[in-house]
């Protein structure tokens, strides 16, 4: 490190504010520490549990089965071709968002002992939580890809893959921003952890994964304003983008012809998505990035009071 080299030439080292850790940029500069934290978090989360990391998959998998049973079999059988993939693709992103948000919100309270006594950019805790969640998303993507291949009619196209990537971008930026902002706010208002949990329980129902987007369009065809409002949800947009990449591309002509029309499914690539899907996606990406900047601003405003508020 440069500090060690200039150690005996301190006259040329500037005086600095020791409390100024550089925010998110400071976290980026300390990648080694971040790596250790992520590794620790991965190990610590399931320490003392026999099945360990497996729990990270049992939980979403059981949720998937529940949703699939209720919406895919009881309510909407035969309405959406490859409904399982339609659902699971959305769940990958929804889980990524809710987990980043939940774990990020708790992160500073959970690392109280370190936060109170050791000097480090405190943004590092919610960021580490997001990275841990992202790590768990990897195997889910493998499962999704496997399921797509099993259909035998998977025809991925570059535009679709870019769309899915855009969806990931939106969710990562927004999830990180939410985790960052609320990790600090949570120290001041402890009730927030519970409020966040309720909010994240609502998210899966607010996006088109248990039901197709076309159903929303259909139900509110008289009042298109509501559909617009529905699409203003960045997570809904992200879910549509990943479905553009991994669901609609598995639907063959025969599958499309066999599907029922009650939920508004129509054959064709564009009939099942809103107009200007990509433009909307890019706008949402911009909004999410702006939100992350806002989150960092809020965090740095509250940062000074975190160590003392943790005591009480």
């Amino acid at each position: 490190m440069t500090e060690a080299a200039t150690r005996h030439d301190l006259a040329n080292v500037p005086m600095v504010d020791p409390a100024d850790k550089g925010g998110l940029l400071g976290v980026f500069r300390r990648r080694y520490l971040l790596r250790l934290m992520v590794r620790r978090e991965l190990r610590a989360r399931y320490i003392g549990s026999k099945m360990g990391l497996l729990w990270s998959y049992i939980n979403p998998f059981s949720r998937f089965l529940t949703f699939y049973f209720v919406f895919g079999i009881i309510i909407g059988r035969g309405q959406v071709p490859h409904f399982a993939i339609h659902l699971f693709a959305g769940m990958v992103l929804v889980n990524l968002f809710t987990e980043s948000f939940n774990a990020g919100t708790r992160s500073i309270m959970q690392n109280k002992a370190v936060v109170q006594k050791m000097p480090l950019p405190r943004e590092i805790f919610p960021i580490a939580s997001t990275l841990v969640t992202l790590y768990h998303t990897g195997p889910q993507m493998v499962i999704l890809l496997g399921a797509c291949l099993v259909t035998g009619s998977f025809e991925p196209d570059p535009v679709g893959l870019l769309a899915a990537l855009l969806g990931f971008g939106i969710v990562i930026l927004l999830g990180t921003g939410m985790g960052l902002m609320f990790s600090a706010v949570n120290v001041m208002f402890r009730d927030l952890t519970r409020a966040v949990r309720i909010f994240t329980q609502m998210v899966p129902f607010s996006v088109p994964m248990m039901y197709p987007y076309t159903l929303v369009q259909d139900r509110f065809s008289e009042i298109p304003g509501i559909t617009h409002l529905y699409l203003a949800n960045p997570i809904a947009e992200a879910v549509l983008l990943i479905q553009r990449g991994f669901w609609i591309t598995t639907v063959s002509d025969k599958d499309a012809a066999d599907a029922g029309a009650q939920w508004g499914f129509q054959p064709g690539l564009h009939a099942n998505f809103p107009d200007d899907l990509y433009v909307r996606g890019l706008i949402m990406l911009g909004i999410s990035a702006a939100f992350l900047v806002l989150a960092q601003w809020v965090f740095s405003r509250l940062d000074d009071r975190i160590p003392e508020r943790l005591v009480a």
Binding site: M1, E3, A4, R7, H8, L10, A11, V13, P14, M15, V16, D17, P18, A19, D20, K21, R30, Y32, L33, L36, M37, R40, R43, A44, I47, G48, A113, V114, Q116, K117, M118, P119, L120, R190, D303, D304, P307, E308, R309, A312
Partner: protein
């Protein structure tokens, strides 16, 4: 001479926030009771430390010593005034701060070293020294939650003292630990001091402050009560009156043993 630490008019206000429910706050407001109470943990603290000085920070319990150290380490930011430091700051505010009880001693060493700003290569290079000084033996690869408080303290001190730093902060390191460990700590800190590192040492033990430090700062209820010569500072606190000191005998033996060794 290069300035190492510059504390300029630093004040820190804490609010005594009780974790109260909305109902309690409303009731208090209706009864026109105070809902917010604040106090100053530090009040207009100003001093400058040159590189290589060894400062003994003294004061009664609750006089703001740890709060001041947190400002110098950069854990807290002052409400008013400014703190500036030069070079890398290392040290420990509480022994074993930030250790994860379920991780092994080895993992915690790497983690703690990284928090204090060491790179992976640096930690690898110094790992044997750190482990040797901590002297926890076989326990290195078991969770630190199972450690005795002495082992815990040794590990924490060992990591902090092996960071190649320019300012070293030690808060009551000798409060825990047995006689041999205390001796080892003092010796190591003397080494650090003699290598030109600025030392900031908090202690209630007059003898070790006398031994280690070149200057004493006394805090009294968050205000600098005294800043200057070591012996005068100790006198200022009335810590020189050995008869009153319950720990006096212990002090003497520590001092004696140290004297014979160094």
């Amino acid at each position: 001479m290069t300035t190492s630490i510059e504390v300029q008019g630093v004040s820190k206000e804490f609010s005594r926030h009780y974790q109260r429910t909305l109902k309690q706050v409303t009731v208090a407001k209706l009864r026109r009771q105070e809902t917010k109470k604040t106090f100053w943990a530090l009040r207009d603290v100003t001093f400058t430390v040159d590189q290589g000085e060894a400062i003994g920070l003294m004061g009664l319990n609750g006089s703001g010593k740890s709060t001041l150290l947190k400002h110098i380490m950069g854990v807290m930011r002052p409400t008013e005034g400014s703190v500036r430091t030069r070079g890398r700051v290392s040290g420990l505010i509480a022994t074993g701060a930030g250790f994860h009880p379920q991780m092994t001693g080895r993992e915690n060493i790497y983690m703690n070293a990284a928090i204090l700003g060491m790179s992976e290569e640096e930690t690898n290079a110094k790992f044997d020294d750190i482990a040797g000084f901590a002297d926890v033996g076989e326990a290195m690869d078991t969770p630190v939650g199972n450690y005795s408080s002495g082992m815990f303290a040794r590990l924490g001190f060992s990591v902090a003292v092996h960071v190649d730093c320019d300012v070293f902060i030690a808060d009551e390191v000798l409060a825990v630990g047995d006689q041999p460990f205390k001796k080892k700590c003092i010796k190591k800190m003397e080494e650090v001091r003699d290598s030109g590192v600025t030392l900031f040492y908090v202690s209630h033990a007059a003898a070790s402050v006398r031994r280690m430090c070149t200057r004493v700062i006394v805090l009294e209820k968050g205000v600098v009560g005294f800043d200057g010569d070591v012996d005068e500072g100790i006198k200022f606190l009335h810590y020189d009156d050995d008869n009153d000191e319950p720990d006096a005998e212990d002090e003497e033996t520590t001092d004696g043993e140290l004297g014979s060794e160094v």
